[in-house]
Symmetry: C2
Subunit: 448 residues, 2 copies
């Protein structure tokens, strides 16, 4: 037979079992944390009609979209979870209750240039709160605490949530007489961390006709160690600016009430979030020891989720975690916690007699106690079976030979300690249960 060389497409993550367990643990942690904040799970198709998905049209992403026809239907794979959410809310608005809080964790597709750590199929983990007509600032203030809780639950310690407000930026540009260049100035500021203040000034002055002293004033403001104080001094001159400062103060003031420690957040006036989409608070989250990775959780407030589909005004606030890339980085940088039990089973049962009834009964007893059990029925040497358990990091082996069966017992071997005991089935189940329960809870990330 002619054989095809098996391969996985470049840019598509495919994990080995232990890594997959860790990835799934991360997903479970996100689901659980998001649920604690009252978000309901959602799932939408990976394929949408191109006309619907690309209603907004144009932009950087369009070239990257997987678009094709089936029969005579023009289809596209979703490239984010926001556009499908907009469609979902517009389509089902009559059946939803607002504010609508949903989380969605799913695969999205972008045909980016293949590059290490860049993926063409990747998971996004999003939450959004959508209001009908209006949405209180409290929702914007709550988001940083969700970010904090989420990463803490994953086990990450050294990260920082950066917040800004688009009204502050836009108002500031008005104040400084930069209204016309606002978009260009914002995009230039966004590069501050990458290219430094001198380069930014050069661009502002030379490319966008910003007066040199205005550029200096702007850069001074952006780099101050007391941004809220500096903003306060500029108040009373521009309505939008004042509103932005007010919102930003509210968000910051509630931060500690929500339990976000002071060293885990920062007002950062340089954050603009490229997209024109955001209109209020914006968020970025960085790993303190790996700033080069960029933001691992971003989002913000927008005024109109679904304007391409409905004349309903649907303001919202949301954040997104690029989970596949984050997982890649964590593995790459040695952050995955080796203490997480990645074995497919807690107990490997090794029957040593022809009749398997006793082994099956013990497997059933374990499973009924919620313990994961695997029967090893292959015709292999005993040593090979133990080595199987070892390779898979299965913590216990249960031996059922003629002696054990005659006594109605089972020998349980703790494969970490080597200790073994011959016990009744009930005792054995209890031993395994209590040993597993005594393992310290392990987060998927280990951050020293």
């Amino acid at each position: 037979m002619e054989r095809i060389k098996p391969r996985t497409l470049s840019g598509f993550m495919e994990l080995l079992p232990p890594q997959q367990v860790l990835f799934d643990r991360m997903v479970d942690t996100l689901r659980k944390t998001y649920s604690l904040y009252g978000f309901t799970p959602l799932d939408t198709p990976a394929i949408e009609a191109s006309e619907v998905l690309l209603a907004k049209g144009g932009g950087e992403t369009e070239k990257q979209i997987y678009r094709f026809t089936k029969g005579d239907t023009d289809l596209s794979l979703r490239f984010d979870l926001t556009v499908p959410l907009a469609k979902y809310v517009a389509l089902h608005s009559g059946e939803l209750t607002f504010p609508f809080r949903r989380f969605q964790i799913g695969k999205v597709y972008r045909g980016e240039r293949a590059q290490r750590g860049r993926f063409r199929e990747f998971y996004q983990a999003d939450i959004d709160v959508i209001g009908d007509g209006s949405l209180d600032i409290l929702n914007e203030a709550e988001i940083p605490s969700i970010i904090y809780k989420t990463f803490t639950a994953l086990g990450l310690k050294r990260f920082q949530i950066r917040v800004n407000n688009r009204k502050v930026l836009n108002g500031l540009f008005d104040l400084l007489g930069l209204k016309e260049q606002a978009g260009d100035v914002m995009r230039t500021i966004d590069k501050l961390e990458k290219i430094g203040p001198e380069k930014v000034k050069e661009l502002l002055v030379n490319d966008f006709s910003v007066p040199a002293d205005t550029a200096d004033q702007l850069l001074a403001l952006l780099s101050t160690s007391d941004p809220m104080g500096a903003l306060d001094q500029l108040k009373g001159k521009n309505e939008l600016f004042d509103q932005g400062v007010e919102e930003l103060s509210t968000v910051v003031n509630y931060m500690s009430a929500f339990g976000v420690p002071a060293d885990h957040y920062q007002v950062d006036l340089t954050i603009a979030r490229g997209l024109d989409y955001y209109t209020g608070t914006v968020y970025e989250t960085t790993m303190l020891d790996h700033p080069e990775i960029g933001s691992i959780c971003s989002g913000g407030r927008y005024d109109n989720l679904a304007e391409y589909y409905t004349n309903k005004q649907l303001p919202g606030v949301g954040i997104s975690i690029g989970l596949t890339r984050l997982f890649f980085v964590l593995e790459d940088q040695g952050y995955l916690n080796p203490d997480v039990l990645t074995a497919p089973a807690d107990v490997l049962i090794l029957p040593m007699t022809e009749d398997l009834t006793a082994a099956i009964a013990f497997a059933t007893a374990l499973r009924e106690a919620g313990i994961r059990a695997q029967l090893h029925g292959e015709k292999k040497k005993f040593k090979q079976k133990l080595s199987y358990a070892d390779k898979l990091s299965i913590p216990f082996a249960a031996l059922l030979g003629e002696d054990e069966i005659a006594q109605g017992k089972v020998t349980v071997k703790n494969l970490a300690t080597g200790e073994q005991q011959t016990l009744t089935s009930e005792e054995a189940v209890e031993l395994v249960r209590s040993t597993l329960a005594a393992r310290p809870a392990a987060c998927p990330i280990q951050d020293r």
Copy 2:
């Protein structure tokens, strides 16, 4: 602005939040049950190189495949989880430990003719055990108990697992002198339930030259109430047949040791499973009250998982549940359990003062106790907020007015009973926790 009419493609399931919660509950139940049997979770890309995915080529499914090019790469969306598993095992065989037991729950794509209850994007929930070179019959014997446990955990009661063995069928055809027509005979038998014995006999005799008395003998055997007894009488004439009967006996004998009640399984010699793929035990599962739906969980033993990719002999056994279709049927037939709490939160917190610090602190206390809490910060009337909780079936409201805050308390209202109490934060958390814990555990399916 020109607006695009939002729509979801026909054949693509998109659920409203309460249904989504039930669907996710089903997925969680499957994950948990599969894990108890020592299966490790796996995730593979939804897109594969067409050359890899279609290595086996041809067949019914090929027309249904979503195939397209991106750049100059010929790509296809997976149409099942078995071919990606074959690729995975062939590609990573050096890094896997055999027997390799994996479960995978993921979306697959088939461009079928749109039809009520037929989906183009649907979840499959698969388990497979893959051996390296050999695989013990114990694995085949364990599968029915996994099917039993899975559906029982979902809440389904009236279902039946049907088992057969392809060696029995193939051996039987040899015995009856039907070796040459074996494939045609098997496909015809497969229609027995649909078209009845007379029609089957007609087809066998007229289209496939089966002698009338042989057709009668075959049909008598297929409809006997004691299939194992009837098979025993034919033993000793054909090696393959004898081996099949032996395997089938083993599977049946272990069934009760594995705890499958006698009324939940049946040897059914008419089950052939269309595909040429299976070589030993085959399984189907039917809902007793809805035989028209066909099998809701099928699979079997195969001798060579990945022959298109590797010369390694990789025998296995697996089953698959078409989860999206099953969910559709369950909802359609009124099987979804109304007692499952589908609310996005357990407690809706209604702050009634300008300062939200107390409300935020109570939300934090609830979340730290693992209770799902939502802060309702919108500027709405109190009655509207209670109606919000009601629409979403949120079980508790927590009221924080000036009086409560002055006393350091919170008023908790049980929205099912109308009862309300003013308590300390700790007492309130405990009241909610204990009330929720006292709710009877609800399976996603309610089967009377």
